[in-house]
C-alpha cells in the first residue's frame, strides 16, 4: 500500500510548532519577569 504524503503539511506543522513554541517561551518569560519585579517593588514599598 502506498500512502500519499503532502509534503507541505509537514512543513507547516514544523513551522507552527517552532514559531508558536518560541513565542510562547518569550511571552511566558516576559510575564514571569514583570510579575517577579512587581512583587519585589511591592515588598520594598511595604
Amino acid at each position: 500500500m502506498h500512502e500519499r504524503l503532502d509534503q507541505w503539511d509537514y512543513v507547516w506543522a514544523a513551522l507552527a510548532i517552532g514559531v508558536v513554541g518560541m513565542l510562547a517561551m518569550v511571552g511566558w518569560s516576559l510575564i514571569a519577569m514583570i510579575r517577579a519585579e512587581r512583587r519585589r517593588d511591592k515588598v520594598r514599598r511595604k
Partner: protein
Amino acid sequence: MHGFANPARFLRMARWLLPLLLVPGLALSLGALAWGIAFAPPDHLMGVTVKILFIHVPCVWLGMAGWSTIAVSSIAELVWRHPLAGIAARAAAVPGAVFTALGLATGSIWGRPTWGTWWVWDGRLTSFLVLLFLYFGYIALADAAQRDAANGGSAGRVTAIFGLVGAINIPIINRSVVWWNSLHQPPSITLGRSAIDGTYLWPLLLGALGFSLVFGAVVIARMRMLLAEIQTEARLRRKALG
C-alpha cells in the same frame, strides 16, 4: 568580567539590552523563516520538506548553545565565584530546554516524509534526547539549590558541577553522525566551510542570528526574574527576623 558582577549595574544594562535583542531578534527570525519558506527552491531529493531546515537547525543549534552557556557560566561560578554566573546558568536552562524540545519535534516531523519514520534510536537522535533529559535534571536541581541557598546551604556548587559534567554530551551530539551509522546526514556546515547552497544558507544564517538574539533576550528576562525573586526573598527574610 567582574565589572558586571554588580546586580544593580547588570539590571541597569538589562533594561535597555532586553528590547534591543528581542525586537530585532523576532523580526529577523520571522523574516528569515518567511524568506526561506517563500523563496528557497525545493530540493531534488527531499522536495519542499527541505524548508523545515530553517526552523529545525536554529532550534538544534540553540539547544546545544544553551548547555554551552550553562557550562561556561558554571566554570565562572566555580572558579571566579562570579555572583551572576549561577543566575545566568539557571536563566539559560529553560530556553535551552525549549529549543531542544522544538529541535526534537521539528526533526521528528522532518524525518517522517524523508526517512519514512518519526524516530530512530541512532546516535544523533538519542544523544539529543539525552540533552533534553539533562536539562530537566538541571532545572530540578537548580530549583532545589535555590531553596537550599535561601536556608544558608551551598547546593549551588552541585548544580554548577552538574552543568559542567553534562557538557560532555555536546561534543557527543556534534560527532555522533561521524562516529556511528545514522539516518541523519553528516554535518553540512563546519567552521569556514559549507556544503549548503547560498539560496538555503543565507536565510538559514539570518534565522539562526535572529533566534540567537531571541535566546539572549529570554536569558536576560529570566535573569531579571531570578534576581527579583532573590531580592524579594532577602527582604522578606530581613523583615521576618527584624
